[in-house]
Protein backbone atom coordinates (compact mmCIF):
# COMPACT_ATOMS: atom_id res chain seq x y z
CA UNK A 1 0.00 0.00 0.00
CA UNK A 2 1.52 3.28 -1.09
CA UNK A 3 1.78 5.69 1.83
CA UNK A 4 0.59 9.16 0.86
CA UNK A 5 1.88 12.20 2.69
CA UNK A 6 -0.67 14.97 3.25
CA UNK A 7 0.27 18.27 1.61
CA UNK A 8 -1.53 21.50 0.73
CA UNK A 9 -2.64 22.32 -2.81
CA UNK A 10 -3.55 25.96 -3.36
CA UNK A 11 -5.42 26.81 -6.54
CA UNK A 12 -5.28 30.44 -7.67
CA UNK A 13 -7.32 31.88 -10.53
CA UNK A 14 -6.03 35.28 -11.61
CA UNK A 15 -6.00 37.72 -14.52
CA UNK A 16 -3.29 36.63 -16.93
CA UNK A 17 -1.51 40.00 -16.85
CA UNK A 18 -0.48 39.08 -13.33
CA UNK A 19 1.33 35.90 -14.33
CA UNK A 20 4.96 36.89 -13.97
CA UNK A 21 4.38 38.86 -10.76
CA UNK A 22 2.36 36.10 -9.18
CA UNK A 23 4.83 33.36 -10.04
CA UNK A 24 7.64 35.49 -8.67
CA UNK A 25 5.76 35.91 -5.42
CA UNK A 26 5.01 32.20 -5.21
CA UNK A 27 8.68 31.43 -5.63
CA UNK A 28 9.64 33.96 -2.97
CA UNK A 29 7.10 32.41 -0.63
CA UNK A 30 8.91 29.10 -1.03
CA UNK A 31 6.99 27.21 -3.73
CA UNK A 32 9.25 24.87 -5.67
CA UNK A 33 6.92 24.20 -8.59
CA UNK A 34 3.50 24.96 -10.06
CA UNK A 35 1.16 23.94 -12.82
CA UNK A 36 -0.65 26.48 -14.98
CA UNK A 37 -3.67 26.04 -17.20
CA UNK A 38 -5.44 28.68 -19.27
CA UNK A 39 -8.87 29.53 -17.93
CA UNK A 40 -11.70 31.98 -18.25
CA UNK A 41 -14.38 32.74 -15.78
CA UNK A 42 -16.94 34.90 -14.20
CA UNK A 43 -16.99 36.32 -10.72
CA UNK A 44 -18.72 38.84 -8.53
CA UNK A 45 -16.20 41.54 -9.39
CA UNK A 46 -17.08 41.38 -13.06
CA UNK A 47 -15.28 42.37 -16.22
CA UNK A 48 -11.58 42.94 -16.38
CA UNK A 49 -8.81 44.02 -18.71
CA UNK A 50 -7.85 40.39 -19.28
CA UNK A 51 -10.63 39.95 -21.77
CA UNK A 52 -8.28 41.54 -24.27
CA UNK A 53 -5.08 40.06 -22.93
CA UNK A 54 -6.10 36.43 -22.90
CA UNK A 55 -8.31 35.53 -19.97
CA UNK A 56 -7.32 34.05 -16.67
CA UNK A 57 -4.62 31.69 -15.56
CA UNK A 58 -5.34 28.90 -13.11
CA UNK A 59 -2.29 28.06 -11.02
CA UNK A 60 -2.02 24.98 -8.83
CA UNK A 61 0.79 24.92 -6.33
CA UNK A 62 1.63 22.06 -3.98
CA UNK A 63 3.36 23.30 -0.85
CA UNK A 64 4.08 22.65 2.79
CA UNK A 65 1.83 24.18 5.41
CA UNK A 66 4.35 26.89 6.22
CA UNK A 67 4.67 27.96 2.62
CA UNK A 68 0.90 27.85 2.19
CA UNK A 69 0.60 30.27 5.07
CA UNK A 70 3.06 32.67 3.40
CA UNK A 71 1.20 32.41 0.09
CA UNK A 72 -2.12 33.32 1.71
CA UNK A 73 -0.37 36.23 3.35
CA UNK A 74 0.98 37.62 0.12
CA UNK A 75 -2.37 37.10 -1.61
CA UNK A 76 -4.12 39.07 1.11
CA UNK A 77 -1.52 41.82 1.10
CA UNK A 78 -0.84 42.36 -2.58
CA UNK A 79 -3.59 40.77 -4.64
CA UNK A 80 -7.02 40.42 -3.10
CA UNK A 81 -7.56 44.16 -2.52
CA UNK A 82 -6.83 45.10 -6.12
CA UNK A 83 -7.18 42.27 -8.56
CA UNK A 84 -9.76 39.82 -9.85
CA UNK A 85 -8.61 36.71 -8.06
CA UNK A 86 -10.12 33.56 -6.60
CA UNK A 87 -8.07 31.15 -4.49
CA UNK A 88 -8.78 28.01 -2.56
CA UNK A 89 -6.84 25.43 -0.65
CA UNK A 90 -7.31 21.70 -0.30
CA UNK A 91 -5.55 18.82 1.40
CA UNK A 92 -4.16 16.27 -1.02
CA UNK A 93 -1.90 13.26 -0.72
CA UNK A 94 1.40 12.74 -2.53
CA UNK A 95 4.34 10.39 -2.58
CA UNK A 96 7.85 11.89 -2.60
CA UNK A 97 6.58 14.88 -0.61
CA UNK A 98 10.11 16.24 -0.42
CA UNK A 99 9.88 17.27 -4.08
CA UNK A 100 7.23 19.83 -3.24
CA UNK A 101 8.41 21.12 0.11
CA UNK A 102 11.57 23.18 0.00
CA UNK A 103 11.71 23.70 3.77
CA UNK A 104 10.70 20.54 5.69
CA UNK A 105 7.08 20.65 6.81
CA UNK A 106 7.50 20.00 10.57
Amino acid sequence: MTALTPITCITIVAESVLESRLLGDLETAGARGWTITAARGHGPRGRRVSEIEGGNIRVEVLVSEAVAERIWQVLEDKYFPHYAIAAWSSEVGVVRAGRYTAVPTE
Binding site: V17, V49, I52, G55, Y83
Partner: protein
Protein backbone atom coordinates in the same frame (compact mmCIF):
# COMPACT_ATOMS: atom_id res chain seq x y z
CA UNK B 1 -14.29 66.64 -47.64
CA UNK B 2 -14.79 64.41 -50.67
CA UNK B 3 -17.73 62.11 -49.96
CA UNK B 4 -16.15 59.34 -52.03
CA UNK B 5 -13.34 59.18 -49.54
CA UNK B 6 -15.69 58.69 -46.61
CA UNK B 7 -17.74 56.08 -48.43
CA UNK B 8 -14.60 54.31 -49.57
CA UNK B 9 -13.36 54.18 -45.98
CA UNK B 10 -16.69 53.30 -44.42
CA UNK B 11 -17.48 50.62 -46.97
CA UNK B 12 -14.05 49.03 -47.00
CA UNK B 13 -14.09 45.33 -46.12
CA UNK B 14 -12.08 45.73 -42.87
CA UNK B 15 -14.34 48.48 -41.51
CA UNK B 16 -17.45 46.53 -42.44
CA UNK B 17 -16.04 43.47 -40.69
CA UNK B 18 -15.61 45.63 -37.58
CA UNK B 19 -19.27 46.62 -37.80
CA UNK B 20 -20.24 42.97 -38.25
CA UNK B 21 -18.35 42.17 -35.06
CA UNK B 22 -20.13 44.91 -33.13
CA UNK B 23 -23.47 43.69 -34.43
CA UNK B 24 -22.72 40.10 -33.46
CA UNK B 25 -21.73 41.16 -29.96
CA UNK B 26 -24.99 43.09 -29.56
CA UNK B 27 -26.87 39.93 -30.64
CA UNK B 28 -24.86 38.05 -27.97
CA UNK B 29 -23.45 35.84 -30.73
CA UNK B 30 -19.90 34.62 -30.47
CA UNK B 31 -17.78 35.65 -33.45
CA UNK B 32 -14.50 35.88 -31.55
CA UNK B 33 -11.47 34.29 -33.11
CA UNK B 34 -9.95 31.56 -30.96
CA UNK B 35 -7.49 33.23 -28.62
CA UNK B 36 -4.41 31.55 -30.13
CA UNK B 37 -5.32 32.78 -33.59
CA UNK B 38 -6.04 36.29 -32.32
CA UNK B 39 -2.60 36.46 -30.69
CA UNK B 40 -0.94 35.16 -33.85
CA UNK B 41 -2.83 37.67 -35.98
CA UNK B 42 -1.62 40.52 -33.80
CA UNK B 43 1.96 39.25 -34.07
CA UNK B 44 1.60 39.04 -37.84
CA UNK B 45 0.34 42.63 -38.10
CA UNK B 46 3.16 43.98 -35.94
CA UNK B 47 5.87 42.12 -37.82
CA UNK B 48 4.42 42.96 -41.23
CA UNK B 49 4.15 46.67 -40.42
CA UNK B 50 7.66 46.66 -39.04
CA UNK B 51 9.08 44.92 -42.10
CA UNK B 52 7.45 47.24 -44.58
CA UNK B 53 8.48 50.25 -42.53
CA UNK B 54 12.06 48.99 -42.35
CA UNK B 55 12.29 48.47 -46.08
CA UNK B 56 11.07 52.03 -46.60
CA UNK B 57 13.31 53.41 -43.85
CA UNK B 58 16.36 51.97 -45.59
CA UNK B 59 16.12 54.58 -48.32
CA UNK B 60 15.35 57.46 -45.98
CA UNK B 61 17.89 60.22 -45.38
CA UNK B 62 18.88 60.06 -41.65
CA UNK B 63 18.73 63.87 -41.44
CA UNK B 64 15.19 63.77 -42.72
CA UNK B 65 14.14 61.28 -40.03
CA UNK B 66 15.56 63.17 -37.07
CA UNK B 67 13.00 65.92 -36.67
CA UNK B 68 9.92 63.65 -36.94
CA UNK B 69 11.45 61.45 -34.24
CA UNK B 70 12.00 64.40 -31.94
CA UNK B 71 8.50 65.65 -32.66
CA UNK B 72 7.04 62.22 -31.79
CA UNK B 73 8.85 62.14 -28.46
CA UNK B 74 7.65 65.63 -27.62
CA UNK B 75 4.06 64.76 -28.54
CA UNK B 76 4.33 61.48 -26.67
CA UNK B 77 5.25 63.43 -23.52
CA UNK B 78 2.79 66.31 -23.91
CA UNK B 79 -0.38 64.53 -24.97
CA UNK B 80 -0.81 62.54 -21.74
CA UNK B 81 -0.29 65.73 -19.72
CA UNK B 82 -2.93 67.48 -21.79
CA UNK B 83 -5.28 64.54 -21.34
CA UNK B 84 -4.73 64.52 -17.58
CA UNK B 85 -5.71 68.17 -17.22
CA UNK B 86 -8.52 68.05 -19.77
CA UNK B 87 -10.05 65.25 -17.72
CA UNK B 88 -9.83 67.39 -14.57
CA UNK B 89 -11.95 70.01 -16.31
CA UNK B 90 -14.36 67.71 -18.11
CA UNK B 91 -14.92 64.94 -15.56
CA UNK B 92 -14.98 64.13 -11.86
CA UNK B 93 -12.52 61.24 -12.12
CA UNK B 94 -9.96 60.93 -9.34
CA UNK B 95 -6.28 61.37 -10.13
CA UNK B 96 -5.53 57.64 -10.40
CA UNK B 97 -8.24 57.18 -13.01
CA UNK B 98 -7.09 60.30 -14.82
CA UNK B 99 -3.52 59.00 -14.86
CA UNK B 100 -4.80 55.73 -16.26
CA UNK B 101 -6.71 57.56 -18.99
CA UNK B 102 -3.64 59.69 -19.76
CA UNK B 103 -1.58 56.54 -20.23
CA UNK B 104 -4.13 55.18 -22.69
CA UNK B 105 -4.53 58.38 -24.73
CA UNK B 106 -0.83 59.18 -24.59
CA UNK B 107 0.01 55.83 -26.12
CA UNK B 108 -1.40 54.80 -29.48
CA UNK B 109 -3.37 52.11 -31.29
CA UNK B 110 -1.69 49.76 -33.73
CA UNK B 111 -4.90 48.86 -35.48
CA UNK B 112 -6.03 52.44 -36.02
CA UNK B 113 -2.59 53.22 -37.42
CA UNK B 114 -2.82 50.18 -39.68
CA UNK B 115 -6.26 51.13 -40.91
CA UNK B 116 -4.91 54.61 -41.71
CA UNK B 117 -2.15 53.13 -43.87
CA UNK B 118 -4.66 50.93 -45.68
CA UNK B 119 -6.81 54.04 -46.21
CA UNK B 120 -3.91 55.97 -47.74
CA UNK B 121 -2.80 53.00 -49.84
CA UNK B 122 -6.30 52.69 -51.24
CA UNK B 123 -6.30 56.37 -52.19
CA UNK B 124 -2.80 55.97 -53.64
CA UNK B 125 -1.43 58.69 -51.33
CA UNK B 126 2.31 58.55 -50.54
CA UNK B 127 3.67 58.81 -46.98
CA UNK B 128 7.07 58.47 -45.35
CA UNK B 129 8.07 54.85 -44.82
CA UNK B 130 9.55 55.67 -41.43
CA UNK B 131 6.17 56.45 -39.85
CA UNK B 132 6.37 52.94 -38.39
CA UNK B 133 9.38 54.06 -36.43
CA UNK B 134 7.27 56.87 -35.04
CA UNK B 135 4.62 54.35 -34.04
CA UNK B 136 7.18 52.36 -32.05
CA UNK B 137 8.50 55.55 -30.44
CA UNK B 138 5.20 57.13 -29.49
CA UNK B 139 3.87 53.95 -27.91
CA UNK B 140 6.01 54.05 -24.79
CA UNK B 141 6.41 57.55 -23.26
CA UNK B 142 2.68 58.21 -23.02
CA UNK B 143 2.22 55.21 -20.78
CA UNK B 144 5.04 56.27 -18.46
CA UNK B 145 3.89 59.85 -18.14
CA UNK B 146 0.39 58.64 -17.37
CA UNK B 147 1.63 56.37 -14.60
CA UNK B 148 3.75 59.16 -13.13
CA UNK B 149 0.84 61.61 -13.20
CA UNK B 150 -1.28 59.12 -11.28
CA UNK B 151 1.25 59.51 -8.51
CA UNK B 152 1.76 57.04 -5.71
CA UNK B 153 0.29 53.81 -7.00
CA UNK B 154 -0.04 52.10 -3.67
CA UNK B 155 0.78 48.37 -3.83
CA UNK B 156 0.86 48.18 -7.58
CA UNK B 157 3.97 47.11 -9.46
CA UNK B 158 6.92 49.52 -9.53
CA UNK B 159 7.11 51.92 -12.48
CA UNK B 160 10.55 50.64 -13.44
CA UNK B 161 9.23 47.09 -13.56
CA UNK B 162 6.34 48.23 -15.73
CA UNK B 163 8.68 50.19 -18.00
CA UNK B 164 10.71 47.04 -18.55
CA UNK B 165 7.56 45.09 -19.39
CA UNK B 166 6.42 47.69 -21.93
CA UNK B 167 9.79 48.06 -23.61
CA UNK B 168 10.46 44.33 -23.87
CA UNK B 169 6.80 43.60 -24.55
CA UNK B 170 5.66 41.92 -27.73
CA UNK B 171 4.49 45.05 -29.53
CA UNK B 172 7.67 47.04 -29.21
CA UNK B 173 9.96 44.06 -29.91
CA UNK B 174 8.06 42.85 -32.95
CA UNK B 175 7.71 46.34 -34.41
CA UNK B 176 11.31 47.29 -33.77
CA UNK B 177 12.54 43.84 -34.78
CA UNK B 178 10.55 44.04 -37.99
CA UNK B 179 12.00 47.45 -38.78
CA UNK B 180 15.55 46.19 -38.27
CA UNK B 181 14.92 43.11 -40.39
CA UNK B 182 13.37 45.26 -43.10
CA UNK B 183 16.34 47.65 -43.12
CA UNK B 184 18.85 44.78 -43.29
CA UNK B 185 17.13 42.63 -45.87
CA UNK B 186 15.90 45.45 -48.09
CA UNK B 187 13.45 45.33 -50.98
CA UNK B 188 15.00 42.22 -52.57
CA UNK B 189 14.86 40.21 -49.37
CA UNK B 190 11.34 41.45 -48.69
CA UNK B 191 10.18 40.41 -52.13
CA UNK B 192 10.41 36.74 -51.14
CA UNK B 193 8.04 37.20 -48.20
CA UNK B 194 5.85 39.81 -49.85
CA UNK B 195 3.05 37.35 -50.73
CA UNK B 196 2.76 36.60 -47.01
CA UNK B 197 3.52 39.89 -45.25
CA UNK B 198 2.35 42.18 -48.05
CA UNK B 199 -0.55 40.84 -50.12
CA UNK B 200 -2.38 39.19 -47.23
CA UNK B 201 -2.18 42.24 -44.98
CA UNK B 202 -5.62 43.77 -45.57
CA UNK B 203 -7.27 40.36 -45.35
CA UNK B 204 -5.67 39.54 -42.02
CA UNK B 205 -6.58 43.02 -40.78
CA UNK B 206 -10.19 42.18 -41.69
CA UNK B 207 -10.19 39.17 -39.37
CA UNK B 208 -8.55 41.21 -36.65
CA UNK B 209 -11.12 43.98 -36.93
CA UNK B 210 -13.94 41.46 -36.78
CA UNK B 211 -12.57 40.44 -33.38
CA UNK B 212 -12.06 44.05 -32.28
CA UNK B 213 -15.66 44.67 -33.26
CA UNK B 214 -16.86 41.96 -30.90
CA UNK B 215 -14.79 43.38 -28.05
CA UNK B 216 -16.03 46.88 -28.80
CA UNK B 217 -19.62 45.68 -28.99
CA UNK B 218 -19.36 44.14 -25.54
CA UNK B 219 -18.06 47.42 -24.16
CA UNK B 220 -20.89 49.47 -25.61
CA UNK B 221 -23.21 48.26 -22.89
CA UNK B 222 -20.97 49.89 -20.28
CA UNK B 223 -21.26 53.33 -21.87
CA UNK B 224 -24.15 54.38 -19.65
CA UNK B 225 -22.05 53.94 -16.54
CA UNK B 226 -19.17 56.01 -17.89
CA UNK B 227 -20.68 59.49 -17.51
CA UNK B 228 -21.17 62.15 -20.17
CA UNK B 229 -17.96 64.01 -19.50
CA UNK B 230 -15.94 60.92 -20.19
CA UNK B 231 -17.84 60.14 -23.37
CA UNK B 232 -17.34 63.69 -24.60
CA UNK B 233 -13.64 63.51 -23.80
CA UNK B 234 -13.30 60.30 -25.79
CA UNK B 235 -14.39 62.12 -28.94
CA UNK B 236 -13.23 65.71 -28.46
CA UNK B 237 -9.75 64.93 -27.18
CA UNK B 238 -8.74 62.69 -30.12
CA UNK B 239 -9.89 65.31 -32.62
CA UNK B 240 -7.86 68.01 -30.85
CA UNK B 241 -4.78 65.79 -30.46
CA UNK B 242 -5.13 64.66 -34.06
CA UNK B 243 -5.24 68.27 -35.27
CA UNK B 244 -2.12 69.12 -33.28
CA UNK B 245 -0.36 66.07 -34.70
CA UNK B 246 -1.29 66.86 -38.28
CA UNK B 247 -0.37 70.53 -37.98
CA UNK B 248 2.97 70.01 -36.29
CA UNK B 249 3.94 67.30 -38.76
CA UNK B 250 3.15 69.59 -41.67
CA UNK B 251 5.09 72.34 -39.93
CA UNK B 252 8.30 70.27 -39.87
CA UNK B 253 7.83 69.43 -43.54
CA UNK B 254 6.34 65.96 -43.58
CA UNK B 255 4.14 64.96 -46.53
CA UNK B 256 0.36 65.27 -46.32
CA UNK B 257 0.10 61.50 -46.03
CA UNK B 258 2.72 61.29 -43.30
CA UNK B 259 1.17 64.18 -41.40
CA UNK B 260 -2.20 62.49 -41.45
CA UNK B 261 -0.55 59.35 -40.04
CA UNK B 262 1.11 61.30 -37.21
CA UNK B 263 -2.29 62.83 -36.50
CA UNK B 264 -3.73 59.34 -36.21
CA UNK B 265 -0.94 58.31 -33.84
CA UNK B 266 -1.77 61.27 -31.58
CA UNK B 267 -5.51 60.81 -31.82
CA UNK B 268 -5.71 57.11 -31.14
CA UNK B 269 -5.75 55.51 -27.72
CA UNK B 270 -4.02 52.29 -26.73
CA UNK B 271 -6.14 49.30 -25.77
CA UNK B 272 -3.48 46.63 -25.62
CA UNK B 273 -0.17 47.86 -24.20
CA UNK B 274 -1.60 50.54 -21.92
CA UNK B 275 -4.34 48.48 -20.25
CA UNK B 276 -1.87 45.78 -19.26
CA UNK B 277 0.66 48.27 -17.92
CA UNK B 278 -1.95 50.28 -16.08
CA UNK B 279 -3.51 47.16 -14.61
CA UNK B 280 -0.16 46.21 -13.11
CA UNK B 281 0.91 49.62 -11.89
CA UNK B 282 -2.41 51.20 -10.97
CA UNK B 283 -4.61 48.38 -9.72
CA UNK B 284 -7.08 50.77 -8.17
CA UNK B 285 -7.86 52.44 -11.50
CA UNK B 286 -11.17 51.30 -12.95
CA UNK B 287 -10.56 49.39 -16.19
CA UNK B 288 -14.25 49.72 -16.96
CA UNK B 289 -13.79 53.43 -17.67
CA UNK B 290 -10.50 53.34 -19.55
CA UNK B 291 -11.33 50.38 -21.77
CA UNK B 292 -14.85 51.51 -22.46
CA UNK B 293 -13.66 54.88 -23.69
CA UNK B 294 -10.56 53.78 -25.58
CA UNK B 295 -12.03 50.66 -27.13
CA UNK B 296 -15.74 51.43 -27.04
CA UNK B 297 -15.72 55.04 -28.23
CA UNK B 298 -12.40 56.38 -29.47
CA UNK B 299 -11.46 53.34 -31.50
CA UNK B 300 -14.63 53.12 -33.61
CA UNK B 301 -14.78 56.91 -33.85
CA UNK B 302 -11.28 57.06 -35.31
CA UNK B 303 -11.80 54.05 -37.54
CA UNK B 304 -14.96 55.37 -39.14
CA UNK B 305 -14.88 59.16 -38.83
CA UNK B 306 -11.43 60.10 -37.59
CA UNK B 307 -9.35 58.63 -40.38
CA UNK B 308 -11.07 60.51 -43.21
CA UNK B 309 -11.25 63.57 -40.94
CA UNK B 310 -7.50 63.75 -40.23
CA UNK B 311 -6.85 63.24 -43.94
CA UNK B 312 -9.12 66.18 -44.69
CA UNK B 313 -7.26 68.23 -42.06
CA UNK B 314 -3.93 67.31 -43.66
CA UNK B 315 -5.14 68.51 -47.04
CA UNK B 316 -6.69 71.72 -45.73
CA UNK B 317 -3.77 72.65 -43.47
CA UNK B 318 -1.17 71.81 -46.10
CA UNK B 319 -1.83 75.17 -47.72
CA UNK B 320 -1.08 77.01 -44.47
CA UNK B 321 2.43 75.58 -44.16
CA UNK B 322 3.63 75.98 -47.72
Amino acid sequence: MNSDVITGSLLSVPVLAFILGVTAARLKADLRLPDAVYQATAMYLLLAIGLKGGVALRDADPAEVASPIVLSIVLGLLIPVAAFFALRVMTRLNSVDRGAMAAHYGSTSLVTFTAALVFLDTLGVAYEGYVVTLLAIIEVPGILVGLLLAGKAASGAKTSEVLREVVTGRSVLLLAGGVVIGVLSGPIGFERVEPFFGSLFTGVLTLFLLEMGVLTGRRLGDLRTAGWGVVLFAIVFPVAAGAVGVASALAIGMTQGGSMVLGVLCASASYIAAPAAVRLALPSANPGITLTTSLGITFPFNLIIGIPLYWWMAQELAGVFT
